[in-house]
């Protein structure tokens, strides 16, 4: 018998409705969730391995080039994808997207009056190796204003999306940077309970930093493990 996946760590997750983040009150579910025993539908999930990554997908300083290098501070973002028992999750797809160094997304609906960088796209992906490790090359994303409240600014961040081993281990999150003064003012970051909030902040790492080239940050990601309760027959 295969073990079911552990439940979501609800105490460590943001609530669906977080009034300070003003898009949530009309969009989050309001009725109680119905507990779903894990059958094959939950024990399986989309399989995207090495064959879903090509060329410069993991190097955002290369994959959007038109006629030169993107502007901004080059950074390396590396880490491991683990389960709750600390076991590495190999062959796991990570998809990321971010603003450019000036705080502007290439997305058509981003109207922020900051320059688009013709040589920076901002989306990428990679797959973890046998030790669960991943590595992206990119530029540090800029902060940008958003309409949530007066003078609201999002802290520098990179969006991350992972499937993990099954449909229920799916994670969509954001990585933040250490020492960012906007973190204490950001209702999205602050919607996360205090005990787990700091798991969203990468650590600066001199080991990951490449001399004369790019600063390094480490962001480890922990997905739901398994083994606490048996799967339904």
């Amino acid at each position: 018998m295969t073990d079911a996946f552990n439940p979501r760590d609800w105490a460590g997750q943001p609530a669906y409705i977080a009034p300070e983040y003003k898009s949530t009150p009309l969009r989050g579910p309001t009725k109680p969730l119905i507990p779903l025993p894990h059958s094959l539908s939950e024990m399986t999930g989309p399989v995207y391995g090495q064959d879903s990554v090509t060329g410069n997908d993991a190097d955002l300083t290369l994959n959007g080039r038109r006629n030169g290098e993107p502007l901004g501070e080059r950074i390396i973002v590396a880490g491991r994808v683990l389960d709750e028992d600390g076991r590495p999750l190999p062959n796991t797809l990570l998809e990321i997207w971010q603003a450019n160094a000036a705080g502007r997304y290439i997305h058509q609906t981003d109207q922020h009056d900051a320059p688009i960088d013709p040589n920076f796209f901002g989306g990428g992906r990679c797959v973890t190796d046998a030790k669960g490790a991943y590595r992206f090359m990119t530029v540090k994303p800029g902060a940008y204003p958003w309409p949530n409240h007066h003078n609201a600014w999002r802290p520098n961040h990179i969006h991350f999306s992972l499937f993990g081993p099954s449909f229920v281990t799916r994670l969509v999150t954001q990585m933040y940077f250490p020492g960012d003064p906007l973190l204490d003012l950001d209702p999205i970051f602050l919607a996360t309970p205090a005990p787990t909030r700091n798991l969203l902040i990468a650590n600066f790492s001199l080991d990951v930093t490449e001399p004369n080239y790019a600063l390094g940050y480490v962001f480890d990601i922990v997905l739901r493990g398994r083994g606490a309760t048996p799967m339904e027959a």
């Binding site: 997750q13 969009r27 507990p35 969006h159 099954s166 787990t196 969203l200």
Partner: protein, 195 residues
């Protein structure tokens, strides 16, 4: 015993499209899509269907920046995943992804095959993840089909209060089109699961 805490979820935000569904939104020059609305290509066996719908907020307004992902079994009820002991259908991956920002009416749509029963107590269904700007963590739901005798004995539908079960069942339109609207809130709030 678990030792590490799960990384918390954060919102997908309004600008996920070029990272998660670049081809649908016209960004394929820099990045291809791993998945989209076309789930059944070529000679995949099974009854071709389209599943489409809209996502409504608490005011009943269609949401233009939601991301819908579906995961389903093939026509014989087999999942293309190593945990399914019956072996996979190599030509059907079973995963689809569609944003609601490219259709004038903010619909999502999937061109796929009707799934078979994945287990004796499971009626044919699609497993769904709903996420969007304004959701700090995604929600799970399921799409079932009308006119399925197996719905009566489905072990998951039985867990849902009878008066809310209808929110999980698509309606048949013309041809092989099924409509499944997702209501985040309100009288018709879709059933979401703690999966």
């Amino acid at each position: 015993m678990t030792k590490l805490r799960q990384t918390p979820s954060q919102t997908v935000g309004p600008y996920f499209a070029y990272g998660l569904s670049p081809e649908q939104y016209g960004y394929q020059q820099s990045l291809s899509s791993i998945a989209g609305s076309q789930m059944a290509e070529g000679d995949v066996e099974g009854e071709r269907i389209r599943v489409e719908g809209r996502v409504f907020d608490g005011n009943g307004t269609p949401i233009s920046d939601a991301l819908i992902e579906v995961w389903q079994a093939d026509s014989l009820g087999r999942y293309a995943h190593p945990a399914d002991p019956r072996g996979s259908n190599n030509t059907f991956k079973g995963f689809g992804r569609c944003g609601t920002g490219t259709d004038a009416r903010h619909r999502f749509w999937f061109d796929t095959i009707k799934p078979g029963k994945a287990g004796e107590d499971q009626a044919p269904h699609l497993n769904v993840i709903v996420t969007m700007r304004g959701m700090l963590l995604h929600a799970f739901t399921r799409i079932y089909f009308p006119d399925e005798p197996a719905n009566a004995t489905d072990s998951v539908l039985r867990l849902v209060p009878a008066e809310r079960r209808g929110t999980l069942i698509a309606t048949k339109q013309g041809g092989n089109v099924y409509r499944f609207d997702i209501h985040m809130q309100g009288e018709q709030e879709t059933v979401f699961f703690d999966a």
